[in-house]
């Protein structure tokens, strides 16, 4: 592999073609794949999940560009992901549970988030706002029944309802971060609530 390799329009097209013959459908699949990779890297406690997801897809594009036969893209990406996680292993830490319960967010922090939430939701279409609030209504036991009823009312399968609610929540969280001056999750303070920096 040449160290000077860089992602070009042609190599990106080759990557899209490997995902689906139809370019529009391939673009949708690319976005979904990128989202799943970001989540996986975040669950693995990577420091910068977004950039690792970009790196993983770029490495896949490079292999395809170099003519490598990829039988299973998820399996291939998983191998790349494993290597990327090893490479940044020194920056990651496997979780060890705390010995006591950390304090919840401070009242002023919640007030800031509440104000930002109100601002964000005020710009939404009522149907989307109502879906989000209804989906996350109630405690654990009540939620199951709430969601089944909501899915029935909206004529959706539960999986489709969950898909919509997850995206709305992600959109809300992104909006709130912007409102309170945090553009990315990794840019905010990770100060331990027990007082440790």
């Amino acid at each position: 592999m040449s160290p000077k390799w860089a992602l070009t329009a042609e190599s990106f097209d080759r990557l899209l073609a490997a995902l689906h013959p139809d370019r529009a459908e391939a673009a949708v699949r690319y976005e979904a794949l990128h989202e799943r990779l970001v989540r996986v890297f975040r669950w693995e406690h990577a420091v910068d999940p977004e950039s690792l997801a970009d790196d993983a897809l770029t490495r896949l594009a490079r292999r395809l560009d170099e003519g490598e036969s990829v039988l299973s893209i998820p399996a291939f990406l998983n191998g790349i992901a494993r290597n990327l996680l090893k490479e940044e292993g020194a920056r990651r830490q496997r979780l060890q549970p705390l010995t006591d319960v950390p304090a919840p967010p401070s009242e002023s922090e919640v007030e800031h988030h509440h104000a930002a939430l109100e601002t964000c939701l005020a710009t939404w279409e009522p149907a989307k706002r109502d879906l989000l609030l209804a989906y996350y209504q109630g405690d654990q036991s009540a939620r199951i029944l709430n969601r089944q009823k909501l899915a029935t009312d909206l004529g959706l399968e539960l999986n489709a309802l969950r898909n919509r609610a997850l995206r709305l929540r992600e959109r809300l969280e992104t909006c709130i971060r912007k409102q309170i001056g945090r553009d990315t999750p990794s840019s905010n303070s990770t100060t331990d609530r027990k007082g440790k920096p």
């Binding site: 794949l33 799943r36 989540r39 975040r42 693995e44 319960v101 967010p105 969950r162 309170i180 609530r193």
Partner: protein, 218 residues
């Protein structure tokens, strides 16, 4: 909470198993959504003070490690927005009646104000605490204090009774409400003065389940 999120966060030390699950999460949108949904549920339960202490600590570590602690405050804000929405759905007639009371009850009707979040302390029964030092509970003037009383064995059914006592057995605080799953939460009705206390957790039939010892400091 036993689910895929817990499995992925903590108990999956087998690299082969973790590798297989990671590949499925890359391949399968529905599985990825399912895990994300469970993560959100954990965060909401934490925000509602309903997550067992060990799970709360695990989640906190995960969010801190990935720079997502702000999601806890968002979850609390979302819960209070939901409460406000439910309150706004009261019958129209009651709404009209409320208009006449609004001058007297403005502080009560500030429905958009976020709910106060209790500062929570996890306590273990004396038999589980071993030689560990007596836990310290700090009272915060502007927020309620809650005790998460963890069970030693299986969770009791029905209602649980909590009695907070000083060394001379004067009852300072008592409550009765449904027992929790992994622990029972007791929220203090008023701040306790500094000193040593016990919390007796009993069934409504009078059977003492556990005793928890703690010190209240300023």
């Amino acid at each position: 909470m036993n689910d895929l999120f817990r499995q992925y966060m903590l108990t999956l030390h087998d690299d082969d198993e973790r590798n297989q699950l990671r590949e499925r999460l890359i391949a399968d949108q529905e599985l990825s959504d399912q895990l994300k949904d469970q993560e959100d549920n954990w965060i909401d339960s934490y925000a509602a003070g309903q997550l067992p202490p060990e799970d709360a600590a695990l989640l906190h570590e995960h969010l801190a490690a990935t720079g997502q602690l702000d999601r806890l405050a968002t979850a609390v804000a979302l819960a209070s927005a939901k409460s406000a929405k439910r309150r706004s759905a009261m019958p129209f007639a009651i709404g009209i009646a409320a208009v006449f009371l609004i001058g007297l009850a403005i502080p009560i009707l500030r429905t958009r104000e976020p709910e106060r979040v209790a500062v929570t302390f996890a306590l273990h029964p004396g038999t589980l605490r071993g030689a560990a030092e007596i836990p310290k509970v700090t009272m915060t003037p502007d927020r309620p204090t809650a005790l998460q009383l963890t069970y030693q064995d299986t969770a009791p059914t029905g209602d649980c009774v909590v009695a907070i006592k000083t060394a001379d057995s004067v009852i300072k605080d008592e409550s009765r409400k449904p027992c929790g799953n992994g622990f029972h939460t007791h929220t203090m009705t008023a701040p306790l003065p500094p000193g040593r206390y016990t919390a007796d957790l009993s069934t409504t039939g009078g059977e003492l389940l556990h005793t928890y010892l703690f010190d209240v400091s300023k």
